[in-house]
Amino acid sequence: MLVLIWTLSLILSAISILVMVILVLRRVVAARREERDAESRRRIMTAMICLAHDKDVDAFLAVAAQASTSVTADASSEFLGLVRGEEREAVLQALLRAGQPDFLERELKRGDEVRRLHAVELIAAYAPDVAIGPLRGRLEGDRSREVRIAAAIELAKIGTVPPLGELLDRIGYRGQRSRRLAELFGLLPEQSAAELRDLTRQRDAPGFLRASALEALWRRDGLVEPSIFVEAAEDSVPEVAAASLRALGRIGQRTSLPLLLSKLYHPDWEVRMEAVEAVGRLGDPDAAKAVTDLLDDEQWTVRYKAAQSLLRLGPVGEATLRTVALEGTARKQRTASLVLSEGMPA
């Protein structure tokens, strides 16, 4: 046993040191290549800048022929991230002729996760007929959910996504936790509104996802009837109810006031907070009385939002707040005077 400990340790340390030596050597080789790449990257960048201006494609292709396709891809990514409009199109045309899409497709198939993700974002810059095929391929078959989400987002930007249900299936359950889905929902074309609406009603879907769908719907107003938010306000998942109240506040229909007022005493404080903020946005002075009660809420954030909402209710609200600051109970009073003095020099 003791001897085993000893010999094993020697073997392991010999192996580890050997591996390290190999890595150091690898680094020496890599350093040389990097220097070369950096140089040709600079030349490509300069060539792209000239190309965007004087549209001399042949001069650019001559420079690109000197550099490796991966260096060109790398340099183009930076340029395309910086410039848009007609000049970007000119550069894309030239990159097309330099064979970039073929290179990117190879990357999509053979690269590691980082490179695939990068290639997804790059290939999406090209014309739809070049980009859609490979992007679909990634959405349908990539091992990594990050890549699948990225492909979905790029497809949504182009405006051709599969039906929402299929999209979510492709992304997979674990990917459905990501905040990036909220971005994806925001990019979906108008035709997807009905599907998003159905998603908000799907009780077995994660609350976060349903809330994101609600947000995407109100952000582009007029896509759906406000009734969808009224319906979701009664949802048992607080996240969904809160998102719907926020939407109602932003849409700003006076008719939703009774509903909002009825949610001011919801057991979940985030729902109360959204409700009181939405009431403030509607700006109906008659709501001042109900909002004042929340100045005594057990949650600070709710108290704070209640005071801010009062200020939005016009002169009546502000007067109410001032009265409370002078006469109310301790907690109400403190909240009221704090919010009244906010931002003022002390």
């Binding site: 400990i5 340790s9 340390s13 150091v24 990068h118 905040r179 003095s341």
Partner: protein, 475 residues
């Protein structure tokens, strides 16, 4: 046995020797397991991109973050650090500097540089702390708030900052931490990928000594020219790249360093913020978070990102380093004994067994067993009580496995991150990783024993930290 030792003595020595070796083996096993886990985690980690790409990819959905910076007697650097923090690349953040009753002109420097004016800012008194004397904002930037409060220590200042911040997520750093420009963007990624479950994120901290620092940014990475900080470079790699990454993989991360940690505000408020008067308040907070979430039966993650986000200045003198390490040891012991009831409690599952268990092996029993071994193993052998096999096994556990683990941490770094610019640096680090096991490691253990001693005597002074060494080049 030639020597006339009585069987009782030989028996006792054998038992002690086996105990020491068993603990050494346990420790080595913990390390090797960490190594494998870390390698696995690195191969599985989410893709890392250049920061420009991160911005394009996540800029839309990045949550607001408050950067909380406690400052105590930092008049020399505070303006420059605040400038570099305001210049971080993140779509939506605010910087809250908490002047913890500095005796020097920290506040005055800030007022002067940013034209600060006192303002009213309502905030939630969710956590207790020393009274706030005033809150200031700047007409030049909406992102900056300065809180002036009575002195109460770092944890107290951080709690005040947590009260005042309105962002759902906050980031705590040390006054002298140097952040990478994309630090927040990288640290936000777990909160974007899994917003419901992630409650805290730690990031890799690196030793800045020897690197060129211009105006609060590390512009060129170099190795320290002195031996002591060089060993610490290897140590930090081992601690962060191997240990933290491995534990986070199985969601058992027990420490998010106080020099850079990002937390969800609601959960931190629920556990009462940072514990005041504790030495290892960072360890303490994470254990509290684990306890809260497990008690509440919630599914959660405490994540770690391997990319370096933050640079710190490592002590260059033996005296300062010794104080720092004794303090860390005391912090670990304090955290362990305060929450000892969680140890091996089935209710706390992997935290009780693996998390607390490895603190027990590595921090509580480890140093004692090792120092005991240094004294007793050669003695037993020289006196002829035990055969030299025991001695050899012990040396192997301390030195050779030590080399394996240090060198493998380096291998991980080079295989996956490649943040050291030159091949020469790698070669120097490899040598340092080998040499540190002879001398530096032993010194470290002595410091830890000193910390043990102080802990037992409850001598909880802060080690005075004197700042040295970073080559500042100002334009």
């Amino acid at each position: 046995m030639i020597e006339p030792w009585s069987p009782a003595i030989v028996w006792a020595a054998t038992i002690i020797a086996w105990a020491v070796i068993a603990l050494g083996l346990a420790q080595t096993t913990v390390y090797l397991a960490q190594l494998l886990l870390a390698a696995y985690a690195l191969s599985k980690r989410p893709p890392v991109a250049r920061s420009a790409l991160l911005w394009r990819r996540y800029g839309e959905v990045a949550p607001p973050i408050a950067l909380i910076v406690p400052a105590y007697n930092e008049e020399v650097n505070i303006v420059e650090s605040v400038h570099s923090m305001l210049a971080l690349e993140y779509p939506n953040f605010e910087v809250i500097v908490v002047n913890d009753g500095s005796k020097d002109a920290t506040l005055e420097r800030l007022v002067e540089a940013f034209g600060l004016r006192r303002v009213n800012r309502p905030y939630e008194e969710a956590l207790a702390h020393q009274p706030i004397r005033g809150i200031y904002s700047s007409p030049m930037t909406e992102r900056l708030f300065v809180v002036d409060k009575s002195n109460g220590g770092k944890a107290d200042a951080q709690n005040a900052g947590i009260n005042i911040c309105r962002a759902p997520i906050f980031c705590v750093i040390d006054g002298d931490s140097i952040l990478e420009p994309d630090a927040l963007m990288r640290a936000a990624q777990p909160f974007i990928d899994d917003p419901v479950r992630v409650i805290a994120v730690g990031g890799t901290i690196r030793v800045a000594n020897g690197s060129t620092i211009e105006n609060g940014r590390v512009t060129q990475i170099h190795l320290p020219r002195r031996l002591l900080p060089l060993f610490q470079v290897v140590e930090y790699l081992r601690a962060f790249l191997m240990a933290r990454l491995a534990w986070s993989r199985i969601n058992t991360l027990m420490l998010v360093s106080g020099a850079f940690g990002v937390f969800r505000r609601a959960e931190v408020v629920a556990v009462g913020g940072f514990t005041k008067g504790s030495l290892g308040e960072d360890l303490d907070l994470i254990i509290k978070l684990h306890r809260l979430m497990i008690d509440a039966g919630r599914d959660y993650r405490i994540e770690f990102i391997p990319e370096p986000v933050c640079w710190t200045e490592a002590p260059e003198s033996l005296a300062v380093l010794s104080r720092q390490r004794s303090r860390w040891q005391r912090g670990a012991l304090e955290g362990f004994f305060r929450y000892r009831s969680m140890l091996f409690r089935p209710r706390y599952g992997r935290i009780g067994f693996l998390g607390m268990g490895h603190i027990l092996i590595v921090d509580v029993l480890g140093p004692i067993a090792e120092v005991l071994g240094y004294v007793l193993m050669p003695l037993f052998w020289l006196l002829g009580i035990l055969s030299w096999h025991y001695f050899l096994a012990f040396t192997a556990l301390v030195f050779t496995y030590g080399i394996v683990i240090s060198v493998c941490s380096l291998i991980l770094e080079e295989a996956e991150l490649q943040r050291f610019p030159r091949a020469r640096d790698l070669a120097i680090l490899t040598i340092a990783a080998i040499v540190e096991n002879f001398g530096y490691r032993q010194l470290n253990n002595i410091w830890r024993i000193k910390g043990y001693w102080q802990f037992l005597r409850q001598d909880n002074n802060w080690g005075e930290m004197t700042r040295t060494g970073i080559a500042r080049k100002d334009g």
